[in-house]
Symmetry: D3
Subunit: 156 residues, 6 copies
Amino acid sequence: MKTALFPGSFDPITIGHENIIRRALPLFDKLIIAIGSNTNKKYLFSLEQRTNWIKKVFEKDAKVEVVSYDGLTVDFCKKMNATFIVRGLRNSSDYNYESTIAQMNHQLDNSIETLFLQTTPHLSAINSTIVRDIIIHKGDASKFVPKAIQQDFIKK
Amino acid sequence: MKTALFPGSFDPITIGHENIIRRALPLFDKLIIAIGSNTNKKYLFSLEQRTNWIKKVFEKDAKVEVVSYDGLTVDFCKKMNATFIVRGLRNSSDYNYESTIAQMNHQLDNSIETLFLQTTPHLSAINSTIVRDIIIHKGDASKFVPKAIQQDFIKK
Amino acid sequence: MKTALFPGSFDPITIGHENIIRRALPLFDKLIIAIGSNTNKKYLFSLEQRTNWIKKVFEKDAKVEVVSYDGLTVDFCKKMNATFIVRGLRNSSDYNYESTIAQMNHQLDNSIETLFLQTTPHLSAINSTIVRDIIIHKGDASKFVPKAIQQDFIKK
Amino acid sequence: MKTALFPGSFDPITIGHENIIRRALPLFDKLIIAIGSNTNKKYLFSLEQRTNWIKKVFEKDAKVEVVSYDGLTVDFCKKMNATFIVRGLRNSSDYNYESTIAQMNHQLDNSIETLFLQTTPHLSAINSTIVRDIIIHKGDASKFVPKAIQQDFIKK
Amino acid sequence: MKTALFPGSFDPITIGHENIIRRALPLFDKLIIAIGSNTNKKYLFSLEQRTNWIKKVFEKDAKVEVVSYDGLTVDFCKKMNATFIVRGLRNSSDYNYESTIAQMNHQLDNSIETLFLQTTPHLSAINSTIVRDIIIHKGDASKFVPKAIQQDFIKK
Amino acid sequence: MKTALFPGSFDPITIGHENIIRRALPLFDKLIIAIGSNTNKKYLFSLEQRTNWIKKVFEKDAKVEVVSYDGLTVDFCKKMNATFIVRGLRNSSDYNYESTIAQMNHQLDNSIETLFLQTTPHLSAINSTIVRDIIIHKGDASKFVPKAIQQDFIKK
């Protein structure tokens, strides 16, 4: 059984995340969306809210599991029997950052491989930080989040 | 009437900013320098101080207007009837960051275009963060700020 | 009168080029599409063919002029009274290459400014070299060229 | 059945290629090493020689198939029933180049996904062009090629 | 006498730092490891602890001196009669960041040159932030720190 | 005795090369400018012409030696007893390319270190290819070459 982890903050989940997850799904028997829950980090949305949105987006995808975790990603992979990590790349800054983490994870546990997918071009500018900025400033962020949860982001 | 916005923190304005603004001026009928005033962000200099310096630098440029703003840049563009945003680029990290913001802004409001100018080579290392660092450590930052305000930065 | 030059090989013109040109048009009174015609360079399509396609794409745009040139771009700018060069950027490799040329041109003639626009996300992967490769290998490149000339690229 | 294509010139195969292929193998039922055989391109080694080396390196790997191809990679994927392309990344220049090709391929045929693996750190400088340069200049390139074929590259 | 400064936080020193320092040593008569001690910055380890580890790693290297400093790096260079700064580079994001600082330092004091060494490939993913993250999460970071201090990092 | 090699095509030498060489000189007892003379490569200027220009530029610098070479750079280093290679960096594309070569050279002969200097900002756009392009098109390239040889490049 091939199990992959897709770790992230998902604060909130965007159409960029959704796109990578759906495209990676055919490769695996199980894909675990692992929501980071770091007590030292400040999130805009609660863990419960972030979790509920992701569950709604993938409620019809039997292979997708949604969990939260704290600690090292490689330790959580081992606990979940996941031997692959999936990450999306948008540009070369993403690449420099993510490839370093992938190499460190591989050195911590060489049974874990990270696979990268290039974001679909029309989604390559979607950025959680900017999405949060839009929400904080009462802008309409609905076009940047998955269809299943868009109504929660429409500006009234 | 072609109106452009040049948004930034200007904490403080540097010769890098001044160079981009002066080179972009011939393209527009009005160029609005929009000083970010984000209550969650800590600035080294007060909004009043940052504004006064910029006004002094451009006091003879009739096309330049200096204002402060909070909120989304695209919303402020609309309020000011600006359809262009001008940004300077120094290196590929700048480029990756700025191009993502430009694309997000275009998706939020497709009547707004962002134009990039490459920093003049001898100014390509000027960086507000490092300028602030010099000031904090009592160094002489005068060579990195516009002539009109240099005397305020000379180390005594 | 504000005149800009958009230089390139256009071998052939793609929807990426068209997008940048249309978005830059509102800024200028005239935009000259300058087709490089370098005797030392091998093109897939003849200068005549490349020119005809571009003319067809912009036949309703009174501000657009299509010409060919050989020699230094800054010399041709001067001859055409163009004080701006427009270039599109797709990723940081483009940026490193284009910004160097822009700086050299500015040093050769400091009355000439280069303006960069970021490619619209869904077009950011369009690349003339790959388009030519598709054509050479009898693939269907029609989705990568402007609508007005698509029929010439459909694979039969 | 999950089939992936690993396309390249392999002129010659290096330990960098071998590393990516071995790490990608667990994900697939079949991995086709597709050796580019472009009549317009000059290779240092003949197609036969390049093929023989690869076959020797993977002779004990039942999942690996070695073939040559000309034409578009997506067309060859379809012919071989491969729905994944695997590529290695060494640095951000690689990334910019490979991600553009991946996006173009996805637009030509959206049933084909490209997966990227980051080269293992100690192999991240292995570069076929430099390896060829070493060979041309009678240097010892044996440490840069897979163990199974090293004896062919030792400088006498 | 050629004196170089190798500035950093060393929170903690890694095998990446050690590698750059040892490779740079033959160039200089004295190499000063300058530990940043910025009161506004939060460190995981105390200045004393960071200093002790570095001293232990280089206790047999007569050319190496270990000091702490606050303030501008160029001011500290002058105080220590160091005319060279040594920095390691791992990837292009490092490069963009470090080259800007090097240029600013050169503009503040043009008698100071910064020399860059490329990290040895197998160490190019070592990153202090990730090492700290491993330590915080009770992981085993011993393989990322110099041999002389590894026992302090082994997970019990 | 510390000997460094500064390899290149120098077709022709630019103020960018000169700047890096002069800044690196204080570090070494001898700096060998090694002019590549590759029979498979086409140069704009003859080896003799390229050599004469460099000799003229550095005629008063006793530490500088000018030689030509063919073959692997590491082999030539050994022959000349040079244990350092010096290279200039202008932007992140340069960096990606040069760092790969540096790592390969270090793997071929680990007694050889490559040192990088960042180009002085106002010279960071100087590019031999563009300089050659200016010369080919009868432009004035004199401002891009060292003072000592400028008269050979002035456009009449």
